[in-house]
Symmetry: C2
Subunit: 271 residues, 2 copies
Amino acid sequence: MTAQQLFNQIQKKQSFLCIGLDVDLNKIPQHLLQEEDPIFSFNKAIIDATHHLAVAYKPNTAFYEAYGLKGWQALEKTIAYINKNHPEIFTIADAKRGDIGNTSRMYAKAFLEDLEFDSVTVAPYMGKDSVEPFLEFENKFAIMLALTSNVGAFDFQVKKVEDMELYKQVLETSKTWQHADRLMYVVGATKAEYLTEIRKLVPDSFLLVPGVGAQGGSLQEVCKYGMNSKVGLLINSSRGVIYASNNEDFAEKAQQEAQKLQAEMAEILSK
Amino acid sequence: MTAQQLFNQIQKKQSFLCIGLDVDLNKIPQHLLQEEDPIFSFNKAIIDATHHLAVAYKPNTAFYEAYGLKGWQALEKTIAYINKNHPEIFTIADAKRGDIGNTSRMYAKAFLEDLEFDSVTVAPYMGKDSVEPFLEFENKFAIMLALTSNVGAFDFQVKKVEDMELYKQVLETSKTWQHADRLMYVVGATKAEYLTEIRKLVPDSFLLVPGVGAQGGSLQEVCKYGMNSKVGLLINSSRGVIYASNNEDFAEKAQQEAQKLQAEMAEILSK
């Protein structure tokens, strides 16, 4: 998918919502545990109920690897289901990978080629040659951690590096990498006040913004400081949507929560 | 496994060799492709041939995820095989994970609890709450990226952060985290000259050192600057050992390469 196609979807659906598919078997409705593949059954129900309200889905790989083979299989089925039934959806493998070049290449192959995700999240610590292998795929994206939503973000990311905070160095340096137009960035909603500065460095890039809802970030604030002329934002909500209920009405309740977010987004877009 | 037990193994085997099990189906002997599980067959042969010469094995998860379900299954079989037949071996899941707290906890469960690795490599960018979940397991370790062996290490890791290079900030800060005694660190062999400074900050920690061999690092240099009274080093070789030959004699040739490294280590230890 191209960034323009993603923007077109945002306009069409009046939504820039990304739904995080972070399936924890302890949190899903217990009646699903009787199913052959409870993780996939849960995802399928959530996707069926929310696909018209969201432009992206983001399974975090940790939640699948935690269930070993069965988890990996559920991830494969989930991405295949989305790609087959909703090819207009932008898909994100939230994997936060990064390794030496020949190893990053294996991860890129796994997520972008074999599983056919549109994008994968990557960590910047190992620098250029750890990220560039993810940028070799046409119409695919690497979404790099810049300023994350968690408390630990203050440990290193906001520290001054040669008179510029580390996350700014990461943004600035990454613009020099090959195929930098295939980069998006993770910026936590809990750091909305930083978005003005971030937009000075990467005015046109899409930002994947986790942390609205459960982590306390504000959609209004994020849009105020982070939106550009082509929206340029994907707002992620995981727990707030998918665990809205853990009863048999879970998909319906997830839809209601997604609907609320979409309505709020439509209102912002109308201004 | 405790750090003392690891040291005991190093003394017993006169080796601090870690062998990286980075299986690429394009590089293994082609007759193995007839087997039911070529990846596991390759690993088993390498392990059988080298377990008396190495104290650690390190599968890099990228190489397994690249083969999807079959890859994940081969990883499960490999770690189970090592744990059953060679429980004295220190095992490292080279996964370079790191995410917000509840997500890192899922990764920690996957690698340290379910797969029963002794350790997992982690990335520091997201800070304290992204790493601490990996430190909650008794007699298990998180091995954090400090100064990596690749060119990209110069992008951020050696940049001055508040008058101290980022990798030093990472080392210094991590010492304040809960259960910091369960941390080890990745320091590339290609950065041997930095080891004097690193040892000032983490004198007692084990360092996992990739980059000897294919990447050009020197074992002698690493030992000269990085060894402490309990050795404190695990020297990794992946391609140099496991791809010594891609004919039917591959295990024998891998053994010979491991033997050379072990002999060099024994000589260093005898001094």
